[in-house]
Each structure stands twice: as structure tokens, then as C-alpha cells.
């Protein structure tokens, strides 16, 4: 448990990434950031983070696809994924759950809410 936990944030909104990163680093996590789906997916495979925060609507590859690709790969399927989206439609949640997303948070979210969820998964 002495290792610093690695969190990968994938969102095309740089400001959102920035604030999340600041708060997570303040909690003592190491943060990696990607601003599009493709980079995000490559980084996930390279770094193998302890947790991912994933936006749905992104250029190149969307969040669902990343989630599906990772969750169906035994190498990465254990990475917890927190999905963040501005849409709050039930269908999305269902797809999210099907693609193996662990948590689903709707924008605008409370930073504390996200931090709590992250802690919950990383302290398991």
C-alpha cells in the first residue's frame, strides 16, 4: 500500500481535467491526463492506472468504446472506471453498465462527490 495510486483522467474539457487533477493530487494520488479517447486508451494500456475517470463524448473514441475495449480485455478489466457525462439519460446509464462502467456521475458534479468515489475504489 506504500505505492502512490495512479489515476488516469480522460476528458476533452481541459479545465475539468485540470480541477480534478488538482484535487486528486492534493489527496496524494498521481494523475495522468488525456484529452481525447485515442490517447486515453493508449495511456491506459501503457500506464495501467489504478482508476480511470472517463468522459462519454470525446473526439476519436468515445467513453463507452474505451470502457468496452478495456473491460473485455483480461489485462485491464479490473481497472475501475468512473464515467462522467453531461447527459443524464437512462439509456446511457444502461449502456454504461453494460460496458462495465463501475460508477456513473452526471455533470455538473460536486468535486467532493468524485473524490469520495475515487477514495472508495482505491481504498478497497
Amino acid at each position: 500500500m506504500s505505492d502512490i495510486k495512479k489515476v488516469l483522467i480522460v476528458d476533452d474539457e481541459q479545465d475539468i481535467v485540470e480541477t480534478l487533477k488538482f484535487m486528486l493530487e492534493a489527496q496524494g494520488y498521481e494523475c495522468f491526463c488525456a484529452y481525447d479517447g485515442e490517447t486515453g486508451l493508449n495511456m491506459a494500456k501503457e500506464i495501467i492506472p489504478d482508476l480511470m475517470i472517463l468522459d462519454v463524448m470525446m473526439p476519436k473514441i468515445n467513453g463507452y468504446k474505451i470502457s468496452r475495449l478495456l473491460k473485455y480485455d483480461t489485462k485491464y478489466k479490473d481497472i475501475p472506471i468512473i464515467m462522467v457525462t453531461a447527459r443524464s439519460q437512462d439509456d446511457d446509464k444502461i449502456i454504461g453498465q453494460e460496458t462495465g462502467v463501475n460508477e456513473y456521475i452526471t455533470k455538473p458534479f460536486e468535486l467532493d462527490e468524485v473524490i469520495e468515489k475515487v477514495k472508495e475504489y482505491l481504498n478497497k
Binding site: D15, T19, A26, R87, S88, I95, P108, E110, D112
Partner: protein, 700 residues
């Protein structure tokens, strides 16, 4: 005046007959040439023939035989002059009338006059008869044309039907129809037996413009037609020959196509023969008949255009809303996050005054996201896109939740908040979260508008339809009532709402001008949303208030049977199906074992025919524990497919209701789902399977 032909060269006879005719205006001709006599009769150039029994050349009897049928046809009388005791009975048979020799002038004159009068009468009669036949034919054409006209809303088709009718009833050589589409788009449709020379075409255009101008007072011409704006459409039957300007000398009929002030065009027809009064009447009737369908057609076109525009607006609205949801929420999140970081002190020490303003910013960001959520909620329920999760539950549960939420707020304001729950309250189908939203809105309003030491009572009770004061239900169109309801009321001792404002509280953006309201900082959308949410539950919400005495907001939710619930859900699903391009229909059908389920077979069979029309349609049909699950997914199902399903289910429900005793299969669960575009067939199937299972587990 008639011509009388005497078949004789005998001068004496001629003199006698001339004498007999002298008092009348009739002219006497003589001839003994058989062929010319026959010609006279056949062409109807003579009104009467006089023959003499004694004439030998030509032979009178043979001549009469030859003339017989032509004479009848042309209505020419044959008068025979015979000897006193003639035995020529055959001749007498052919003659219409005879006089005996010696000729008595007076008798002969009266015979001639009588025959001619008879002829005239018969002529008139047969003329009337043929006119009658023609009129009948025209009427028939008119009738057929009007029937056809009534059946069409297409401008071009209407004009064609009219031209067709004109051709049948009036047989014109050339017809011109000027049709106004709009100011710079005018058609001149020319239907002609022969081709049109260029200069005739030009003068027909000019003529149409002149006729158009002539219809109006100079000052009142709606707009001037430019000859270049007229597009000529020609339908020529025999292009081998060509009409030139001389056709303009033909007899013509002309009529405007208009309804009152509204002007659609002109018709003009040309024909070599003159038109009769009846033709004119028929023509005008036709022109009048086409006006109304043409107006309908143009109205229909207008409606269609408006509809397209509305659909576009509706689409823009949804697009706008999704932009609002995504594009506004994302930056808001960034602002909120940044503020939180600053306020947490992790980004550096925060002075008291900075903290104050940061908090102010955060409060307003929260408020802004509240407004966005309200807007989204409202547009979602209005568009029928809000997803409700109706579950059979106790309305006291959300009330209990409210108690915990508002107890402290009320205490802070020194308001007494009382909950009076009926513990025997009936179970209803509600979406807990939405009912909480409504209650929270009503209670927070009550707290806002009640002064210190005031009192708020939240009450739940079972009521019946009769207990609802229907005068209070404002802005509800065609309300449907159920026998039993649960009622929730929030009564406060606050400032009250004036009667004229009570009508407005549920209207969007109709926030009542009230400084207190401003202070309270509402969006004015809370109550309109509450109204929509309650109406989605098939319930009603209303207000009763007295200024300075207090206000009571009440809402009722019907206590529904399983069947009512099914029908309501189904209605909603179908309504939604009509507006969506993606449709998944779930049917869960209970089927007695070992009976071939004709209904499912029907659907499957018909579905297959639809599958051929729309790609991507799939069905899952599987059995579990004696129940049949049928889910039909219809990505991009067309309107036809949707209406088909609607009808199918409707007829199924009706028949199962009527035939109580006969075998029937109950639809245990049905729903239609409308996922977003961009999901592939596998996605859709996964969702549908998953949802179907969830729903089944939840309901049974």
C-alpha cells in the same frame, strides 16, 4: 318559312297549288329528277313534298318507297294528290296525308298548313330532346368531375381533372388555364388539338394578362403579372398541324377561378362552333367547382409548409436543449470545481472577504445549474421525453422524506411544519423521485411565502372523484377522471395569491410580479414543472388561496388498476413511437402451452413483411418458465410500421376484452423504448433483453 317540293311538271297543277299557297309565305319548288328530290329530302332542305298519283316519270310509288326512311328521319311530310276512287293503297300508306281530285284549294291549303305545323312541332320537340340529352351528359360530366375534384389536394391534378371535364362536356379546340403559384411563378397550361405557333403562344400569354387585369379595378390589381414570369406548359394532341392567330376568332368562353377576393387563375376555351347558353352554364359551373378544391389545395400546401417549419423548429429546440445540457453544464462544472478548490484553501490562504465573494459566486453557480435543470426538465416533460419510473408504492414515503428535508429549514424560520398522514392510504403508481420533486417545490414555496410563527400543514388522504373541486382545475383539456385518488395538500398561512394570479401560477415564465418572489429567487418554472409531472401521473394539481390568509396547493394521483396502468403506459408508448425514429417494442405475452399462438404468429408474419421494408429490424422471441417474451426492435421504423403495431395491439386488446370466454393471451407487459441514434443493432438488442428482464422481474 318552308320550302315545298312539287314532284310534277304539270303547269296546271303547279298553278293550282301555287294558288293554294299564295296566302302563306311558303315557297314552291318543282322537280322530277329523282336524285335531286332525294337530296332535297335528305338534307332537310324542304319541309314537305307533294306528289301526284298520275305522274309517271318518275314512278311515284317507287319514289315514295325510296324517300320513306329519309323523309321520316328529316321529318318531311309527304302529301299525295290522288284520284277520287284510287285503289293505290300502297301510295296512301306512304303518304302522311292525301287530298282527292279535283283539288279544292282551301282543303289543300289547310292540309299543307296542318302538316307544316306538325312538322314544326316535331322539329322543336326533337331539338329539345337532343339538347336535353346533351345537358344530361354535361351534368354527368360535371358530377364526375366534381367527385374527382373533391378527392384531390394536388393543384396540378385538380387542373388536369378540370381540363378533362371541360373537354368531355364542351369539346374545345384549345383551352388555356392560367394558374397562380406565386407572384413570379405563373403557369399557363395550354391544351390544344393542334400545335401552337410562336406568335399565337405569345398572344395567348398577352391575352391571359389582359383578362387578368380586366377582372380587377385598376387600383385593386393584387400585383402586376410580368409576361416573363409566365411558364407555358403545352399538351398538344395532333402536332402535325398548327393553330395560328385565326383561332382567336373562334367562339370562346372565359371565367376566373376565384373564391371571393382570393384569386387562383383563369380559364379560357376556344371552339369553332358557337357555344350555347347551356355550354356557358356548364363551363362556369366547372370553373366554380374547381375553385374550392384549389383553395383547399393551397391551404393544404400552406399547412404542410408550416408543419415542416414547425418540425424543424421542434428539432432545433431539442438540439438547443442538448447543447444547453452539454455545453452549459461542462463550463459550469469547471467554474464550480475551481471555486471549490479555492474555498477548500488548498490553493492558498483565503481571506475572509475573498471567502465571502467566492461563496457568493458558488451560490450563484448552484442557482444557475438549478435553472438549467429546471429548463431541461420542463422541455423534457413537454416533449414527452422524460423517463418516468412508475412503481406501485405508498405516497407517504416521499412525504416522510420531505419531513426530514424541511424540518430544520422550517424550524430556522420559526414555522410550524405539521404532517398529517393517512396511514391507510391507497397504493398508487408513482415515480418517487418526481413526486418528491413536486412536494419539495410546494413545501419550499410554502416556507418562502409564510412569515415567522406561521403554520404549514402537509396532508395525505384517500378521496373519490366527486371530492375534487373541478372548478379549480385550470388549463386542463379534456380531463379524464378515475374513481379513486390519493390527495396530497400543502396548506400554508402565508401571504396568499390574488384570484387573478391564481390562474397564472402554473404558466411558464409567468412569475407573479412580487418583490418577495424576487427575493425568494425562483425561476418561475417550479410550478409549471410540477403541473407537468403530476399530469404525467394522470393526476391534477390546483391552488386555492385567499390574500393574507394563506394558500393551499393540492394534487391528486389516481389509484389505478393493473389494466388502467397498462393502457396508460401503452398510450404513452404509442404516442412516443409516433415521434421517434428508433423504436423497440416489448411485448410479454402469456401463452397457454400447446396452443399455437396465432397472435404472435400474426405479429411475426407481419413483422417479417416489415423487416423487408426497413433494414435492421430484429426480433427476439424466447421462452422462459412458460412465458413467452417477444421483443421487437425497430431501429428507424417507419410511420407505417409504428401505426401497424398500434393497430395490431389495439385490435388485440379489444378482442380479448370482448371474448372473455374464448382463449386469449394477455399482454403482461409492453413498452416501447427509444434509444438515441448511433447505437448498432447489437447494442439495441442487448438493451432490450436486459430491460425486458428487469421489467419482468420488477413487475412480477
Amino acid at each position: 318559312m318552308s320550302k315545298i317540293l312539287l314532284v310534277s311538271n304539270d303547269e296546271t297543277k303547279k298553278n293550282i297549288i301555287s294558288k293554294a299557297l299564295s296566302k302563306s309565305t311558303n315557297a314552291l319548288l318543282t322537280s322530277t329528277d329523282e336524285q335531286s328530290i332525294i337530296n332535297y329530302v335528305e338534307k332537310g332542305q324542304v319541309g314537305m313534298i307533294i306528289v301526284d298519283e298520275d305522274t309517271k316519270d318518275p314512278d311515284i310509288l317507287i319514289l315514295c318507297k325510296k324517300l320513306h326512311s329519309a323523309a321520316i328521319k328529316a321529318n318531311v311530310a309527304i302529301l299525295a294528290v290522288v284520284n277520287q276512287n284510287t285503289d293505290n293503297t300502297e301510295l296512301l300508306k306512304f303518304a302522311n296525308v292525301y287530298v282527292t281530285k279535283p283539288i279544292n284549294e282551301k282543303i289543300l291549303a289547310s292540309c299543307i298548313n296542318g302538316s307544316l305545323k306538325l312538322k314544326k312541332a316535331i322539329d322543336t320537340l326533337s331539338m329539345n330532346n337532343s339538347e336535353l340529352a346533351k345537358s344530361l351528359y354535361q351534368l354527368d360530366v360535371l358530377y364526375n368531375t366534381s367527385t374527382q375534384l373533391a378527392g384531390s389536394l394536388d393543384k396540378q391534378k385538380l387542373i388536369n381533372i378540370m381540363i378533362d371535364g371541360l373537354e368531355k362536356s364542351l369539346s374545345f379546340s384549345l383551352s388555356c388555364v392560367l394558374v397562380f403559384n406565386d407572384e413570379h411563378n405563373i403557369d399557363l397550361i395550354i391544351n390544344s388539338l393542334y400545335g401552337i405557333s410562336p406568335r399565337l403562344e405569345h398572344s395567348l400569354k398577352l391575352r391571359a394578362i389582359l383578362s387578368y387585369r380586366a377582372l380587377f379595378d385598376k387600383k385593386r390589381i393584387p400585383y402586376d403579372i410580368n409576361i416573363n414570369d409566365i411558364k407555358v406548359i403545352k399538351n398538344i394532341k395532333h402536332p402535325i398541324e398548327e393553330y395560328d392567330l385565326n383561332i382567336l376568332k373562334f367562339d370562346n368562353l372565359f371565367a376566373p377561378i376565384n373564391i371571393g377576393e382570393k384569386f387562383f387563375g383563369l380559364i379560357e376555351v376556344f371552339r369553332e362552333n358557337d357555344y350555347t347558353q347551356e355550354d356557358t352554364t356548364c363551363f362556369q359551373t366547372l370553373a366554380r367547382q374547381v375553385s374550392l378544391p384549389l383553395e383547399n389545395a393551397s391551404l393544404y400546401e400552406e399547412i404542410k409548409n408550416t408543419n415542416t417549419k414547425l418540425e424543424k423548429l421542434e428539432r432545433l429546440k431539442s438540439e438547443f436543449i442538448s447543447i444547453v445540457s452539454h455545453e452549459l453544464r461542462t463550463p459550469l462544472t469547471a467554474i464550480k470545481n475551481s471555486l471549490e478548490i479555492c474555498l477548500s484553501g488548498k490553493a492558498g490562504e483565503v481571506s475572509a472577504i475573498t471567502d465571502k465573494f467566492l461563496n457568493m459566486a458558488k451560490r450563484n453557480v448552484t442557482r444557475l445549474s438549478g435553472i438549467i435543470n429546471d429548463l431541461l426538465d420542463l422541455s423534457k416533460v413537454e416533449a414527452g421525453k422524460m423517463d418516468f419510473k412508475f412503481e406501485k408504492s405508498n405516497i407517504n414515503t416521499p412525504v416522510e422524506f420531505m419531513k426530514n428535508t424541511f424540518e430544520n429549514v422550517a424550524k430556522d424560520k420559526k414555522i410550524e411544519l405539521i404532517f398529517e398522514k393517512d396511514d391507510d392510504i391507497a397504493q398508487t403508481y408513482i415515480d418517487n423521485q418526481r413526486i418528491e420533486q413536486v412536494m419539495s417545490n410546494l413545501i419550499s414555496n410554502a416556507i418562502k411565502f409564510t412569515n415567522e410563527n406561521g403554520k404549514i400543514i402537509v396532508k395525505t388522504e384517500n378521496i373519490q372523484e366527486n371530492d375534487i373541486n373541478k372548478n379549480c382545475l385550470i388549463g386542463v383539456e379534456n380531463p379524464i377522471f378515475y374513481p379513486n385518488y390519493v390527495k396530497v395538500s400543502v396548506q400554508d398561512s402565508g401571504i396568499g395569491i390574488a384570484l387573478e394570479d391564481q390562474r397564472k401560477v402554473f404558466d411558464q415564465f409567468q412569475q407573479i410580479e412580487n418583490s418577495l418572489n424576487r427575493q425568494a429567487g425562483g425561476t418561475g418554472l417550479g410550478l409549471p414543472i410540477a403541473k407537468q409531472l403530476i399530469e404525467a401521473h394522470k393526476g391534477f394539481i390546483w391552488v386555492e388561496s385567499e390574500l393574507n390568509r394563506g394558500t393551499t396547493f393540492s394534487f391528486v394521483i389516481p389509484v389505478l388498476s393493473e389494466k388502467d396502468k397498462f393502457l396508460i403506459d401503452f398510450d404513452k408508448d404509442i404516442a412516443k413511437a409516433k415521434t421517434c425514429s428508433h423504436t423497440i417494442l416489448f411485448l410479454l405475452i402469456e401463452e397457454p402451452q400447446n396452443v399455437k399462438d396465432s397472435f404472435i404468429e400474426d405479429i411475426k408474419r407481419d413483422k417479417i413483411s416489415i423487416i423487408r421494408k426497413t433494414s435492421n429490424t430484429k426480433e427476439i422471441f424466447y421462452e422462459e418458465e412458460g412465458k413467452n417474451y417477444l421483443a421487437i426492435t425497430m431501429p428507424e421504423a417507419d410511420k407505417f410500421a409504428q401505426s401497424f403495431i398500434e393497430k395490431k395491439i389495439e385490435s388485440f386488446l379489444c378482442s380479448s376484452e370482448e371474448k372473455q370466454d374464448s382463449k386469449k393471451y394477455d399482454i403482461l407487459y409492453s413498452t416501447v423504448l427509444f434509444p438515441d441514434k448511433g447505437k448498432d443493432a447489437q447494442d439495441l438488442m442487448d438493451i432490450s433483453k436486459e430491460l425486458l428482464k428487469h421489467k419482468v422481474e420488477a413487475n412480477f
